[in-house]
Each structure stands twice: as structure tokens, then as C-alpha cells.
Amino acid sequence: MKWVGLAALAVFAFALAVLLGPAHVPVAELLRSPIVRELRLPRAVLAFLVGGSLGVAGASLQALVRNPLADPYLLGLSGGASLGAVAAIALHVGGPWALPLAAFVGALAAMGLVYRLGLVGGVELDPRVLVLAGVVVGAFAAAVSTAIVSLSEATALRNAFLWLWGGLSGANWDTVLALCLYAPLPLAVLFAAARPLDLLALGEEPAGYLGVDVAVLKRCVYVAASLLTAAAVAVSGVIGFVGLIVPHIGRLLWGHRHRALLPVVFLGGGTLLSLADTVARVAVAPRELPVGIVTALVGVPVFALLLRRWTRN
């Protein structure tokens, strides 16, 4: 029943994303309209993929660092991606792929650095150290980004600032194809890790005695979740709260077994970001809100409620 509801909601969100927009397209002409085919449809698909990826990355990282308040950007990826993107904008690097590639490279650089710092004694990945490393690498990258922004001229500054809040206006079939080719591998790794992640919640030593190779699990989950987040951030900027709120709601309604939870948060994340992007496109048409603002406006109150609930129990 819950699954039917979620599936219906996902279809509804997707349909809304195709139906609504600043330009009026009559329902009868939906299939023939180039606006739908070249703009709305790829954008709706991309929103769904990015939202789903953020949801899965968030839920997996929560299990990895054993903290239900973790989100995909916790480990410094947003800072790295922002720095890459801001540097590309400031240096006027051209071409349609310049920004996503620069952001992707920035995120990977941050990931590598955080990973290296998180290796205690050069071998064992310690989730607690990983979180601290993520925070400092993110803070450092943010400082450098802000320095670059403050030294560049006004238009570049506005572009960079808007990019930091996320947006899917760059969506086209090429970006969708790129993500469709890229995302399945990290997603498969995380789905395969679902059951070991249940065990990891008991602690590393107990999980090992129950048959989990904890060192391999930690590395695989960290790298796969980070690669997923890096791709999401490259095509859509930093979209907050999806990777935090969706796993939370999923855990409330479906429980903590990751075999059920991960598919749920993929669908739920896709649904939430589709809806948020539709609002971002329509609310102040013909202008557009950064979608990260919409997710934050929805996400912060929801998160505050969850936090109250969490601290009460």
C-alpha cells in the first residue's frame, strides 16, 4: 500500500513536471510540442535522477557514518564542486560541459582529500574522522570560492552565486544520457551494500563477526556515494536537503532495513526534486528560482520538525 502510494506520487510529480511550465502547452499537443520534448521532458528526467541519486547517497552515508543527520554534502563534496564551478566561471572557461566538468573535478578532488584524511594510520577508514575531514575540506573550499567570487566582476559573481544554489535549467538529453550511463554503477554498489549496511549499524566489530568485511564495505560505500553526489552536483549544482529529508521520511515510514529503504529513497528523492523543480520554474515565471531555494524552504521546516521529534524520543 505504501509502495503504491509512493509510485502514484512519483508518477504524479513527473506528470506535473511535464504538464506545467511558463509556456502554455495544450494537453492535446503535449507529445508534438518541442518545448515538452526538448526542454521539459529531459529536465523532468534529470530532476528525477538527481533527486533519486541524492536520496540514495544520503541514506547510505547516514548508515556509513552511523549518524542519522548526515547528508550527501557532509563530506565536503559541495565545497569542492562549488570551488571547481566558481573557478571555471571566473576563468571564463567556455563550452556547454565546462561547468559540470569543473564541478565534477572539484568534487572528486575534495573526495580524494577527505578520503586520504579519513584513513587512520593509512589503512582503516574511520567514519568519525571522515566527517571532520569533510567539514574542514568543505570550509576551506568555501573560503577559496568566496575569495574568487569577491575578486571577479558582477555578472560572473551572480552566475556563480546562482549556481551554488542549484538549478536544472542546463538540462538536455545529453546530460540525461551522461547521468544514465554513469549512475547505475555506483547505485548498484550501494544497493548491493544494503544488507551489510544494516549490520554496520551495530558497530564495526559486531558487523565483522556477523560476516561483513567492514573495511571493504566502508570504502565501497564512501566512494560510490561520493561519486553519485559528485555527478549530481556537476549537472545541477548544490541542491540541499533532498539527501537529508527523504531518507528521514523513508526511515519513518519504511523502517531502517536498507534493502527496502534504498529503493524508497530513490523514488522519494526523485519525486521531491521533480516537484521542487516544477515550483522553481512556475512560481515566479518567466523568471526562475534556484531549485535549492525551494528544497531549502520546504526542507528546513520539515527538518526542524524531525529534529524536535528526534530529540523528544
Binding site: R66, N67, P68, R195, L199, A201, L202, E205, G211, V212
Partner: protein, 266 residues
Amino acid sequence: MDQELILAAQGVRYRYPGATGDALGGVSLTVRRGDLVAVLGPNGSGKTTLLRVALGALVPAAGSALVAGRPAAAWTRRELARLVGVVPQREETVFPQRVREAVLLGRYPHLSMFGAERPADHEAVNRALAQCDAGHLTGRWMATLSGGEYQRVRVARALAQEPRLLVLDEPTMSLDVRHEMELFELVRGLVDRSALAVVLVTHHVNLAARFADGVLLLDGGRAAGEGVPAEVLTRETVERVFAWPVAIATYQGAPQMIPLRRRSDA
């Protein structure tokens, strides 16, 4: 190879990275099918370290640790978890869990990567719960269990692994007398009925003396005695190891330690 031999640690030496002394200085532990062996010793005498080495979680600097005839570290974690079920001293509860889900985790080493649990897995869970007298708890949240119930469920989880050896690390810590006795009776019953082998790390010298077939008494990373309780737990040995004066009485053939007051009993 001796088929009955499940755990065979020989002259195990281990030092934690950065430590100045050996945590284990040449310790041996042998456990056969149907044995209940208690590992005794003061805090920091190397009991938990010995378990970690014996189970391949730490690699000894010298000596060997064989599980079912192979070095513990040579088994994959999954293979090892099908041979040995462990109830560790401590574990975390990040996400709330129901009893049935918790015990089902014990089936992990028997499941394929993407496959669902089969009827046989649920049967094993039910059997394990029944063995631990925890069948009525299945729907409860782990966090709402009493200390005794919680430990029984964790033993059930280890039994759901269908292991040949069960290892318990101080399972009766902070339990009252009744729950302590229930747990010792449960473990003894498992050994007698199903020929499981059990290694039990405990601070309860007196209960170990009454329930265990053999004891290993550790002192500063070395064996102060190994064998049947009546031979190992003599007054001289116990006083030396625990650094406290004791009297030893005998109850139904088992040595029972009575710690003395500093002045009045002397």
C-alpha cells in the same frame, strides 16, 4: 585433522600498535565440540584480545590461531560467521530495530548478495528464538527489552548463524542474579543438547567454576592456569592473579571463591 577440534590457539603473542608491552605473551586455548570453556582473569589481562586473535580480527605476532583447522585470518568473514557466532560485549543502536529483524541479521552469512531471505532462514530464526526462550519477544523493539531479554536475543542472533562455536564476551555484565543464572543455564543447556562449543569470557569466577568444563585463567597476558576448574582455581593461584586474599570452599564439587575482608576475616 581432528574433526572435533574447533578452536586451537597455540602460543599466541600480540602487542597493540604503540603499546609498550605484550597484551598476550604466548597464550594457548583449545576448544572442542561439546566443550564449555570459560576465560577468566582481571581487567586488562587479555581476555578480549585473546578472543579477537582467536577469531582473526587481530593477527598474532607469533603463534597460530586455527578455527576448524584453518588460520582464522584465512577464512573470509562470511565463512567465519558460519562457523563462529559471537555475542560481543558492546554494540551500538543507531537505528531502532525490532527483535525479529535483529535476529534475522544473524542469517547474513547464509544469504546471497541480492537474494531475499528464504523460508529456511525464517525457520532458523524461529528455532534460535525458541532455544533462547525469546519467541514471545519477536514484535518488541530492542530498546524496550530488559537487560536479560536483550542478552537472550543477542544469543539468539548468534545461534541464527547456525555456528559450531559460540563466543560470549561478558554476557552477564550488569544483570541481576536471576538473569545471570538464566543465561548461564541457557548456555550450558545449548552445549549439552546441541553439542555446540562455547567460549565464555566472564568475571564470575564462581559461576564459571560450576558451569564450565574447563577454565583458562589469564594474568597479564599469560596463562596462570588451564584445565578443569578444581585444578586451576586454587587459593594460591586465585590470590596471586586477582591480587586479593580469598578463601576457597567447595560446593557440589566445584571450587567457590570467597573474597576476604582486609582485617576481620584474616
